[in-house]
């Protein structure tokens, strides 16, 4: 099975770039080992519908993005099946989040959407200068996100080996815009 971990987000707006930063972080920190499956990591940025031809090539999808949810706090992490999203998820965040939802729905309507999980985190939305700094809440949430992905991949027979244990999510946020993904199966 070919698994795609797709990070979404606008890195120019602090926490709203966490999806992209997080997949770079996971790409830098780990290599992915499995007899049966392959893992590809993609920084999808804000490409939305342009990601359709990519997504449909995979058998399993994990989307990492910001989300909005009722009664939630910045830094709360949600991990759910896209087809059975919890009721409190409202998808009404920033433009790129709405576009991503539309994109997944379009693929689903065509019957091409692989089994998909969403790893969502509530961002701290601030109107400030453009910067790559993340909020403390999101930095703390990255730990939970990391453990969630590891656990889920293990359930899919994928084990992770540390490549660069020193890397932190804050450090990665400063360089992800110019970093090339390593775990790219080239499918």
């Amino acid at each position: 099975m070919n698994i795609l971990i797709l990070g979404i987000g606008n890195i120019l707006f602090q926490d709203e770039g966490i999806g992209a930063h997080f997949v770079h972080y996971m790409d830098e920190k780990y290599e992915y080992i499995s007899q049966k499956n392959s893992v590809t990591i993609v920084d999808g940025g804000t490409l939305a519908q342009r990601l359709i031809p990519l997504i449909v090539r995979y058998d399993y999808l994990i989307v990492v993005d910001c989300i909005e949810a009722y009664d939630s706090e910045p830094g709360d992490v949600y991990f759910f099946d896209f087809e059975n999203a919890p009721d409190e998820i409202n998808w009404q965040g920033s433009a790129h989040e709405v576009e991503m939802l539309q994109t997944l729905n379009m693929i689903r309507m065509n019957g091409d959407l692989p089994p998909s999980r969403v790893l969502g985190v509530i961002p701290k939305r601030i109107d400030d200068d453009t910067a790559f700094e993340l909020s403390e809440e999101i930095i703390a949430a990255a730990d939970t996100m990391e453990q969630t992905v590891i656990k889920h991949l293990e359930s899919l027979d994928v084990s992770l080996r540390e490549r660069n244990p020193q890397i932190t999510i804050s450090a990665m946020a400063q360089i992800s815009f110019k970093r090339e993904i390593v775990n790219d199966s080239g499918i």
Binding site: L12, G45, T46, R50, P53, A95, D127, D129, T130, A131, F132, F177, K178, R179, E180
Partner: protein, 555 residues
């Protein structure tokens, strides 16, 4: 036994067929030649002993060509009849070939050091009998060529300038160290006398060095090596380099090499100390020096040349718009008139265009054109209308007030072409860049830059789309605000442009099922752009370029 030599040759010229024919004729071999698109197959029928000897002959006498991509040899059962013949009706007018080099370099040869040796492959110089060397009041006619070359090399070594008539025209040569750089001079021209040491002055890849020595003997632009630049002999960033393309310069270079001189600078006019001339040469027949670019894929792009089939000029002149004219010539050169092709014309001198061709279309379909804003003020006003644009502009004004002020002084009426290069110039101005985006990107050591937005205005149509330049500017401003440096942002502009091309190709492909993408215009000769474009679309589409015709005309 029959051997099949397979050549992948990306040119419509007859040079390879002529050489193969003459080499086979000289060895009295039975042969046939067939040509199908880019494949030239050369069949030779002989016994094993003759075949073995011929293999050595072909290896030594067949020159390398910039258009030759791959070769293979295999044993076959049958020899198909030729479908192409050597053109024996006209002089080939080529630089020296391995055969005449053997004659001029062999001490046993009667043509030893004779720069005017005659060879059926190359320039016919048999009527030239001597040099006329003028030094001060002294004028000497001589055919003691070896002595002349030794003497001239020694005088150049001493620092004198020598005006030489060559088969490509008359030039003044001198030691590189003596170069008086003229700020108005567009390009500095160098003759590399020793390719083994070319990297002492410029940054050259192996494929580029090989290209300089190929039968075409092209002129190519190179970036100056940082170590040499630090010597402050040359201020220019780029140098136009070639290798000797006739035996006059080749034999002179041999003597210069012995004196440790690896480069000469040359120019068309100026002062000199010695003049070297010869008679009985029709300047109209002079050897043209093509200007080429070798892409990462070892593909040669022709930047300047007159060595193309003149019927293509008629095709070119039949269309008013340059982008369409280039596209049409490209379709002819690659025999694509029955195919569905999308062409990207990206130029530093003309309007850009993306257009689609298919046999059943009566003409071309314009997919995308560009419209330039009238002023920087208009750009800022448009940014303010965008979501979060007002905040972005306010932050940018606070942080970079000088850039805003300078940008507002930029008179956009100087931008004559509706092209992506013009938009990059607008971005450079607003972002306060010291260098151009293209120059910056070429110097960046990174492989990946930030994602710059290249977007089109929403439209259900597949044709006549309009480019949303505001996003292009906005994203650059955002990355600058985030602290990203000029060179890295520039790389993002170049890399993202390649993705933009790829996205347009994918969109059109969904509707039209493309059979290939063609690239024309001088911007595609830029190394970085070419690298990213091939990376972005090379997997999904076959990419075509002009073959012998220039990638962009200068007229």
């Amino acid at each position: 036994m029959i051997l099949e030599y397979k050549f992948e040759y990306l040119s419509n010229n007859n040079t390879l067929v002529n050489f193969l024919t003459n080499i086979a004729d000289a060895s009295d071999m039975k042969f046939e030649i067939t040509k199908e698109k880019n494949e030239i197959n050369f069949y030779v029928d002989a016994d094993e002993e003759a075949m073995s000897s011929f293999a050595s002959t072909i290896a030594s006498d067949l020159p390398m060509s910039v258009f030759l991509q791959n070769t293979a040899v295999s044993l076959v059962q049958e020899m198909p009849p030729s479908n192409i013949q050597a053109d024996k009706t006209k002089q080939f007018n080529l630089p020296f070939c391995p055969k005449c080099l053997q004659k001029a370099e062999s001490a046993e040869s009667s043509d030893y050091y004779n720069p005017f040796t005659t060879c059926p492959m190359c320039c016919d110089t048999k009527d030239i009998k001597e040099f006329i060397v003028s030094f001060g009041d002294e004028i000497k006619r001589t055919d003691a060529y070896k002595e002349v070359f030794e003497d001239l090399a020694s005088r150049i070594h001493q620092g004198l300038g020598v005006r030489f008539k060559t088969l490509s025209g008359t030039f003044i040569f001198e030691k590189l160290e003596n170069l008086q750089e003229d700020k108005n001079q567009k390009d500095i021209k160098l003759l590399c006398t020793n390719l083994a040491n070319i990297s002492n002055v410029v940054v050259a890849k192996k494929a580029e060095i090989v290209a300089l020595a190929c039968i075409e003997k092209p002129q190519m632009d190179f970036r100056i090596n940082e170590l040499y630049k630090s010597k402050n002999i040359i201020q220019a960033k780029r140098l136009s380099v070639r290798y000797p393309n006739d035996l006059i310069l080749y034999l002179l270079s041999k003597e210069l090499r012995a004196l440790g001189i690896d480069f000469l600078s040359y120019k068309n006019e100026g002062s000199y100390d010695i003049n070297v001339d010869f008679e009985n040469f029709d300047a109209k027949e002079s050897l043209k020096i093509p200007k080429l670019k070798i892409l990462e894929q070892n593909r040669a792009l022709v930047l300047e040349s007159e060595n193309y089939d003149k019927k293509f000029m008629q095709v070119f002149e039949s269309l008013k718009e340059k982008n369409k004219a280039h596209f049409m010539v490209l379709l002819y050169e690659n025999s694509l008139l029955q195919k569905r092709i999308l062409n990207f014309y990206t130029s530093s001198r003309d309007d850009d265009n993306v257009s689609y061709y298919a046999k059943d279309l009566e003409g071309f379909l314009d997919v995308l054109n560009y419209r330039l804003p009238k002023s920087i003020q208009e750009v800022f006003e448009d940014i303010q209308k965008e979501e979060s644009g007002e905040r972005l502009l306010k932050n940018y004004k606070n942080k970079y007030p000088d850039s805003i002020k300078t940008a507002l002084e930029f008179d956009l009426s100087v931008l004559k072409n509706a092209s992506i290069v013009s938009f990059w110039k607008i971005a450079e101005s607003i972002l306060g860049f010291k260098n151009s985006i293209l120059d910056n990107a070429s110097l960046s050591l990174l492989e990946k830059g930030p994602r710059i937005d290249y977007k089109l205005f929403e439209s259900a149509r597949i044709y006549n789309k309009e480019f949303n330049y505001i996003k292009l500017i906005q994203s650059g401003m955002s990355f600058r605000l985030a602290g990203v440096d000029e060179r890295t942002i520039s790389l993002g502009y170049i890399e993202s442009y390649a993705h933009f091309i790829s996205n347009i190709a994918d969109e059109v492909n969904k509707e039209m099922e493309l059979e290939g993408i063609s690239l024309s215009g001088d911007i595609f000769a830029d190394e970085r752009i070419s690298h990213y474009v091939h990376k972005s679309i090379g997997k999904n589409f076959k990419i075509f370029y002009n073959k012998d015709f220039v990638i962009q005309t200068r007229f």
